[in-house]
Structure formats: C-alpha cells, structure tokens
Symmetry: C2
Subunit: 324 residues, 2 copies
C-alpha cells in the first residue's frame, strides 16, 4: 500500500502520518510507502519497514502534481490549502492553490487511465456554508459560501463528486469543523482565536478574544480530524451514491461554554488569562459562519466525534505533555 | 449603453437580441451597440441607430474573451454553453467551454480594474440539482448535480457569487427551466424530446417519446426565458445579498398533461403523431432531473413565468406563423 499525503507538513497532515505509521496497516494492508508532500518539505522520521519520500513543491504546478500521481498511490489524502484569511486577502493565490491544485490532482489521476482509480480523501470545510442558515444545518442545505476559501472548497467538492461519478477516482470529501485545540502558533485563519483562547492560557500566556461570549461555533479535536480521515480512507463508498462530500460530526459550543470548560479543567487563574478585545473584522467574518449542524448522514456511515469540550481540552493537555 | 451577448447565435440569444432591438432601450438608457458573439458568427440585421458587431470564436480562449470585454460593455449576457448531452459525452470539452469560458470572462472583467463593474447575467440550469430531491425543491436545497453539465453550471454559480461579493462584477445567475417549445431541429440535449413531442406533431411529423407519460418536468417558454434575462439585467441586485443565483419560476407538468394540452389546442390527429419508444439511457438521465420547484425567491424579486402549458403551445404556434 502506497499513500500520498498532500499537505503533510500541516498540523492535521503530521498527525495523520503519525497515526498511519503507528498502525502500520490500513484497510487490512501493510503500508509500504508514504509520499509526504507540502510547500515546505515535511520532516518525518522513517520507521523500519516503511519508505518515506518527503518532497516540497507547489500544487498549483500541474507537472509537480502529475509526478506525484505517477507513482500510483493507492490512497491520496489531499489536505493542502491556503487558509481562509489568506485566501480572502490574496484572491489569486487562493484560487491557484485551493482550486487549481485540486483540478491538477483530479486531472493527473484521470490521465493515468482506466486501471487506476485511487481512494482520494479531500478535506473540505464548513466554510462552504454561509448565512442565513437553518438553526441546525442539515445534509441537504445549500452551499452558499461567504468567503473565497469557502467558494474554492465548494468547487472542489463539486469536482470530486463529478470525477467520482465518472469513475475517474473514488473520492470522499469531509467537511471539517474548526479544529480546536490547534497546537503551536496562531495562523492566518480567521478562526485561529478559537484555539488561542484555550492554548495560550494553558501555556501561561494571555489570549485575545475578538468576538462576543455568546458566539456559537462547530468544533472538533485534532484527534477526531485524524479519525475522520482514517474512516474516509477505508469506508465503503457505495453507500454515498453521487454525493461524496459529508459534513463531519462535531460539537456545537459557545465561547462561554468553552471558557467554562477551561475553568473546570484548568482553574480560574488559567481561564482569567483571556482578554476581551472585540475586532469588528473578525466579528463580521465569524457572524457569517455556521454554528450548528445535524451531521446525520456522516454519523449514519460511521463517522464519530468528540463527546465534550472538556475532553477536547484534556486531550490537548495530554498531547502537549507528550510533546514535552 | 453597450451590450455583449455571448451565445448570440443560439435560440435564446437570438430572441434576446430581437427583444433588445425592438425595445431600443434598457434600464432607461438607449442601446447604442450590441456585440454578438458565438462559436459561429451570429447573423443579425442591424437596425438604424444601433451598431451590431458580430464575431465568432472560442470562449475557452482567454485572449478572445479579453478582447470582447476590453470594449467595456455595460451589460453582459453569458448564454454560451455546451449542452448536457454533449458535456456528458465529451468531458474535456464540457469543462473547457462551460467552466473555463466563465472563468475567462470573470477574470477579463476583473482585470479591467476598479472602475468597471458591469451587470453580468449568466444562464445557469436546474441541472445543478440532482436526485434524491425534496418534493418541491426550495431555494435553500443543495446543488448536487448528476451530470458534468450540471456540475459546470454549479461551479459557475459559485464563481459568479464570489466575484460579485468581492465587487469585481454585478452578477445575476438564473437557473432556467427546460425551454419548451424550442423551434428548429432537435439538439444534443437529453431534454430535446420535451420540445420535439410538441414541435414535430404540429409540423405534421412523427415525434418519438423516449420516457413514460407520468414523467414530470419543469418548463418555461422561450418568451419567458427572454423575460427572465431582461429582468435579471435591470433588477436591483442589492436585494440578492451574496446569493446571486436564483431558480426561475416555471410550470411543473407531466408528459400526459403536455400531450393533453396539445390535444386541446391542436386536436387528436396532431397529438396522435407522438410515438412511444422508451430509451433506457434517456429515461435514466431524466429520472435524475428535478420535477417541481418552489421558486419563491425569484418570484419575490419580480420574475414571472407562463400560466399554462396550453399558452406555451399557442405562443409557439404564433411564433412559427410569424416566421412563415
């Protein structure tokens, strides 16, 4: 089994590769090689028995993508993307990486011909949905994004469905909730503060909260995200019919509930490190985001998520301890 | 007022130009010039006072589209497309014309810079919807196309929304019902027979009906299609917010009701010229198409359609008489 991971240096990509290397098999087969690709070369320690081929490049370059696909990976995870804030600020770059990158990938797979039909797991986003919403967004609600990032993800979903319907690829698209708690530094995503208000206080630092306490959001842990990817890679896709893209299950929590869980898990001193500093730009972006979902379709085909926000915080603390 | 019509040689394009030339003004301004473009050069008699510039070319060629937009038309009607049957048979051609053509158009408009923001009316299709459906498809139902044509139209809608949201263009997308009765010859669209079973019997010829009598479909007349375009070109777009694409109103009729209307308007002898010859391929395609809509949003912003199928047939007979 050969596996290609696009976006392998990112937070979710690194965790996915850790999980693949820990499991050593997937879908009942031994993992023989992993091609790890990103815009910067992924740093992965090669364990015994698994070839790791790390490389760096631009997925907006068709020849680069073609060379990766020419190795005929059995499974492809496409996690590479420009995040929402950057795609909104740099219109051309967002379309180039987020949309053309996917087109190149699908075309490269199709060009390999009839005997090649890999499983392709694509990470989409709840940013494909835009206000006004249903109270709980169902699986038949329209994609009406309010950002270029969401537009690009929605276009990729349509392409994934069509290329799968035509038999060129065996695609599954998973719309990830906002991933909380992301480790490391804040990034350019407008959603970055959802992790920041947990991560920074736990690390003894002050965190800025740019939106109101009653803002509700849809979140899942990094471990859940990896679980979604693993299930999407191995599930029976016949049950999906022509609709290959699914809203993943998650937790619908308010900022107040997140802070209350932080207080419960880590105490008042930690929770009090959150400083309220409203930011009209971020408030406006977040107001256009979905807050709650009925992810019944994904649950019915075996996807499952975190049970409580306290659990998410505890998992983050355990991860940080493991990283030293 | 300068107007660009892409797809000006097609049935709807020709009728639109006839209407523009008859009205002489649009949105309160005199029409000074019409640029009429298609894959074959449109043949239009230039009336006094209006410049007609007809040309032929390939909208999948970016430079061709750029040259058309460089004339800075105040309004653009983008009707050019490969029809559903052909887009399904020729995957590359469908994406090239239907998706890349739209991308070239939007990019050419954006490249003109901040002082240029034309009204762009784009003809989408109810083919953006795919089974399973709601009984009546509402304005918040997901686009889940079951053809490459529908996928391409859905991608164009997302792009039109995003470019409009960013202020690069002032777009309105209208999802046309199946247009019945199309004059002339059958085309490669899988929906061609919906016109054929009315048009051919009225012309004294036999028509093949490839699907069952209880098949229900969503239709509008050519005159209604032109009315939708005119309203989309002149309406206040502020009321649309970020959702610039609308399902147009239409009539939900069964084949049996269509034939009954034909019998009522033209008599038994005409209606009996329809021969039933089921075609499994067409039946399968049509089974994936929507049958009925609640087009409340379009109606609320002033779009209106035909009142009965008998009226549609009578309008077709009058049109044919006028054409001699």
């Amino acid at each position: 089994m050969r596996i290609l991971v696009l976006g392998a240096a990112g937070m979710v990509g690194r965790r996915l590769i850790d999980r693949l290397l820990a499991e050593k098999t997937i879908a009942g087969e031994t993992i023989g090689a992993i091609d790890a690709f990103d815009v910067v070369e992924p740093q992965i320690a090669a364990p015994e028995g698994v070839e790791i081929h790390s490389s760096a490049g631009d997925i907006a370059d068709a020849a680069t993508v073609k060379a990766l696909v020419a190795k005929r990976p059995d499974m492809i995870f496409h996690l590479a993307a420009i995040v929402s804030g950057e795609a909104e600020a740099d219109f051309d770059k967002g379309y180039r990486i987020n949309q053309e990158g996917m087109s190149h990938l699908l075309e490269a797979i199709r060009a390999e011909g009839e005997n090649y039909r890999p499983r392709l797991v694509f990470t989409s986003s709840i940013a494909v949905f835009g206000a006004p919403f249903e109270e709980k967004i169902t699986d038949t609600f329209l994609a009406a994004p309010l950002t270029s990032y969401g537009t690009q993800k929605a276009i990729c979903e349509l392409l994934l469905n069509d290329y799968s319907r035509k038999g060129f690829v065996d695609g599954v698209g998973i719309r990830l909730p906002t991933i909380v708690v992301r480790p490391g530094k804040p990034n350019k995503a407008a959603s970055s503060f959802f992790s920041g208000i947990i991560r920074e206080p736990l690390a003894g630092e002050e965190a800025i909260l740019p939106v109101a306490d009653d803002v509700r959001h849809w979140v899942a842990s990094p471990a859940s995200a990896v679980g979604f990817l693993m299930h999407a890679a191995t599930m029976d896709t016949d049950v999906l019919g022509a609709r290959r893209c699914l809203t993943m299950p998650g937790l619908s929590v308010t900022i107040a509930e997140m802070i209350e869980a932080l207080r419960e898990v880590a105490g008042d001193a930690v929770a009090n490190r959150i400083r309220r500093e409203p930011d009209a730009v971020i408030e406006k972006i977040v107001a256009g985001w979905p807050r709650d979902f009925d992810a019944g379709r994904a649950e019915s085909v075996g996807f499952s998520a975190d049970k409580s926000f306290s659990d998410i915080i505890r998992a983050h603390i355990a991860d940080e301890a493991a990283r030293g």
